[in-house]
Amino acid sequence: MKRLIGWVVGVALLIAVPPLMLALGQPFYVDLVRRIMILAIAAVSLNLILGYGGMVSFGHAAYIGIGAYAVGVLGFYGVFSGWLHFLVAIAASAVVALAIGAVSIRTSGVYFIMITLAFTQMLYYLGISVAEFGGDDGMRLKRRSAFPLLDLNDPVQFYYLVLALMLVAVYLTYRIVNSRFGMVLRATRSNEARSRAIGFSPYPYRLVAFVIAGAMCGLAGALYGNHTNYITPGLMSWQQSGDIMFMVILGGMASTAGPVLGAFVLLLLEDLLSGWTEHWQVILGPLLVLSVIFFRRGLAGIFYKPDA
């Protein structure tokens, strides 16, 4: 019940952001919160494999890049249908996640961290070396994804689309985690030997979760491409992967609201610090170190005990 009230209050606040900020003459904050919610979708998807599946993927930004490039490349060839953009973004991310997952999930621990990082880096260099799509400099979208009845060029409409999709992502993850599939996934994380002993081989469950997370993050990528209207390989940089990972940890792993909370705190903090000094990372870095050392269960841990 307490959680439900938390969600209702939170969503009500998010719904109130555009009219409030436009009334105050601060449209910048509509953009900021929209960006935060897009990255929150990425963090929610990562939480599925990191928090519930115990797979420390340090390459989740790959799917943001793939989703964004799906929008950009289709637009480059004159295809502007939003449905097609989003479908291709999700499908392409799922396929790449299947390929990366199939190799990476054979390993565990430090190897898994390094391999997911290395594969994402590979895609990053691929993005840099394909000169046709802008290479290192990236490329501007010709037009945003086109939907019937919905105009992404209108910041407020786009904002509410992102909000709705974020809620769908949160709900979907919640349902997955509490399904039979999700229970097996959580079991393989908490005790791999036992889950094997009762007849569940972890590999296929982990792989499917990895693919779902990749696909969901691909959707976030398609939204992000539309948000910035500009696509660069930098979307796939390892710093971006680290940022998403931090949102999950800061908010609280394996909790429903954690990643969303983490995304808001981290990105609002970044915004605050960067408004203060150009060298904000010199402050953010130590803050991250301190939060890891002293803040073990994340922000969600303050409000309630994380699931699982």
């Binding site: 390993t107 990082l117 290395a118 590979m122 000169a131 940890i249 870095g285 170190v289």
Partner: protein, 306 residues
């Protein structure tokens, strides 16, 4: 053509020994202390910057190198004492995140002190020339010196780890930390020393890289990811694996960048090779890693557990 292949192979070897200096430290820290240190690339950067600064200040290259190495060693030990000690009992995820925070800090700190633009680093004048290996093949003396230094360090490292008392303690600490501590060894001090030593190796790689690549904030992360590939290929915790993996990755990467495009040009149309060549060359080492993992998930030289 032969001269070009020969020269590029030497370049690959030169990249390989630098990767080895990084990978050896990282794999020791990982294998012995069980710490994933993403900030290893930052120590490489710190080594490069400190040496450039010390070289400018003293005017002597050797003095600059000595101060740069000592400085990196001290920075490494401070990082171990202040941050990593709190993380030994944590899982790898926490270590990744904390050292990720350290990277942000170091990159920005360097940008504050020396600016974001790349610094010009020069090697010593007595290494400026070329050597003639055989008729018609000249190779820069500086790069040749890097290869020699790297191989000498590799031999020293092998000697220290397998033939000395310190190396014995390091290996013992890797297999059973509690037991070594119970036998009266100051394991905390040992860890700090090992980490400082690994930092100095990274600093050595960084200061040698200075005159060849750019000295700029973020330079460490470029090489760090390649070092991860080296470690995954070689096997975590294995110095021998780090050496073999580093040489393989160095040579494959360098030869791929040099010859893949002309080679593809003979197979497919030259314009297609023009765009596919560089893309494939930059992905080559990751594909190699995937291939190695498909057959040997623990790397080529898996070290004992722990």
């Amino acid at each position: 053509m032969t001269a070009l292949v020969f020269e590029q192979t030497l370049n690959g070897l030169q990249l390989g020994v630098m990767l080895f200096l990084m990978a050896a430290g990282l794999t020791l820290v990982l294998g012995i202390m069980n710490i994933v240190n993403l900030a290893h690339g930052s120590l490489y950067m710190v080594g490069a910057y400190l040496t450039v600064a010390a070289f400018r200040w003293t005017g002597s290259y050797l003095l600059g190198v000595a101060l740069g190495l000592a400085g990196t060693l001290v920075v490494g030990m401070i990082v171990e004492i202040v941050v990593l000690r709190a993380l030994y009992a944590r899982d790898h995820l926490d270590q990744v995140l904390a050292t990720f925070g350290l990277i942000l800090f170091f990159n920005e700190l360097v940008a504050i002190i020396w600016g974001r633009a790349a610094l010009f680093a020069s090697g010593p004048s007595w290494l400026a020339g070329h050597i003639e290996l055989f008729t018609g093949s000249r190779y820069p003396l500086y790069r040749a010196a890097i290869i020699v230094v790297g191989l000498v360090v590799a031999v020293l490292l092998w000697y220290v780890v397998t033939r000395t008392r310190l190396g014995m303690l390091i290996r013992a600490g890797a297999s059973n930390r509690t037991m070594v501590a119970a036998l009266g060894v100051n394991i905390r001090l040992l860890y700090t020393l090992v980490f400082g030593f690994a930092a100095a190796l990274a600093g050595l790689a960084g200061l040698m890289a200075g005159p060849i690549y750019n000295v700029q904030p973020g330079m460490g992360e470029l090489i760090l990811i390649q070092v991860f590939v080296v470690i995954v290929i070689g096997g975590i915790g294995s110095v021998r694996g780090a050496l073999v993996g580093a040489i393989i990755v160095g040579i494959v990467d360098t030869l791929g960048r040099a010859f893949l495009k002309p080679l593809l040009g003979t197979l497919i149309s030259p314009p297609a090779a023009e765009s596919a060549g560089p893309a494939l060359a930059s992905m080559l080492i990751y594909l190699l890693m995937a291939a190695v993992l498909a057959f040997r998930p623990q790397g080529l030289f898996p070290a004992r557990g722990g």
